[in-house]
């Protein structure tokens, strides 16, 4: 969680996308070119002296979840997706597990029979959104700055910049990180965790929160299995210990192994 490491200033994120066909940048959801606000405040002569009478102390009992505001916005996003029959998927993984390549292949295979939209989350650059757009799907990039996860508010604002068609699939590619994104509901229907065989097969044990909160686990880069010490059975066993309902797909986005299984999974959601 991000207050933990001190990262993640919520006033810092940027969204890159197209507005009326033109590239545009938004800081915290506001277009930097078009919507310049002067933040001057007139005080009509009233002064800011406040008299403190040292009123007696009082205890306010709250019992409020600290992530409740995020959860509230996530529910709003979920309602929006349900209303439009959009399948929204939150893709989470470590950096370099192959999420963007999986998406590129998926877009090539499923368009034009299915409309696909993508929200890309990275700390910096619009490189992934550019890759996705080249594959043929509209994409919007969120740069989280020093933050290490996407949150529901960023998704909410991104949805104002990109009109997602009814019945479409919306892939939300989260920041490559198996820690903080686990705690932030974005309003997705399903969460997909991607690991690759070049990582350790004990990853589920090391990052249990992510595997407990996911619905599907893609084990990617299986073409490399002969060259690494990754045991698929062990990884599945560890993950099932944490989450008995977790589904698995063995995949090589490079060779195409498992891709049909993935498309079938998508069509069933």
């Amino acid at each position: 969680m991000c207050d933990t490491c001190g990262c993640g200033n919520p006033d810092e994120f940027k969204i890159h996308g197209k507005e009326n066909g033109q590239m545009a940048n938004w800081r915290n959801g506001e277009n930097q070119e078009h919507h310049h606000h002067d933040h001057e405040h007139e005080h009509d002569g009233h002064t800011h002296s406040h008299v403190h009478d040292h009123t007696p102390e009082k205890v306010i009992s709250l019992n409020m979840d600290i992530l409740s505001e995020n959860n509230r916005l996530a529910e709003r996003n979920r309602g929006y997706f349900e209303g439009k029959h959009v399948l929204a998927l939150n893709l989470v993984s470590s950096p370099g597990s192959g999420k963007t390549t999986i998406l590129e292949k998926t877009i090539h295979a499923l368009i034009p029979s299915r409309k696909i939209f993508v929200i890309e989350g990275d700390q910096q650059t619009a490189r992934d959104a550019d890759r996705i757009e080249k594959s043929g799907a509209p994409a919007i990039q969120i740069n989280t700055g020093s933050g290490c996860h996407l949150d529901a508010k960023m998704i909410h604002l991104a949805l104002h910049k990109m009109e997602v068609d009814n019945q479409a699939i919306l892939f939300i590619e989260n920041v490559g990180n198996l820690v903080c994104p686990a705690l932030f509901d974005l309003g997705e229907q399903k969460r997909v965790v991607v690991i690759s065989v070049t990582e350790g097969d004990d990853k589920p044990l090391k990052y249990p929160y992510m595997f407990q909160s996911s619905n599907l686990c893609i084990i990617n880069k299986t073409d490399l299995l002969p060259y690494v010490d990754f045991s698929v059975e062990a990884a599945i066993q560890y993950a099932r210990q944490l989450n008995p309902d977790l589904e698995f797909i063995l995949m090589s986005a490079k060779t195409g192994e498992g891709m049909n299984e993935w498309y079938t999974w998508l069509s069933k959601q």
Binding site: D3, T4, L62
Partner: protein, 106 residues
Amino acid sequence: MEVIELAQREADKNGVSRIREILIEVGDLSGVEADAFQSALELIVHGTILAEAELRISRTPGKGKCMKCNMEFEMNNRIDCCPKCLCLPSEISEGQEFRVLSMVVE
């Protein structure tokens, strides 16, 4: 940041200008490192409604329930399993809390 926003919202709602103390519950299985959270929060409260508030953390130990025999047992981390049935998934019943319990205000 969420804590500061929450405190500000509640202060506004209750017409409060000063918060003397804020009590935050952090479960041992919540994914939040309580000490790091407290240090980070102390750094970012400057200039906010919590600037003068004492930040108090209340820890809640983890507790789980075996999905097979229903026995309740202490959990030190999320992958602990029932000491009797061993290594079966268990349901976390306590320790996932991350919430503001109360504020002392003026």
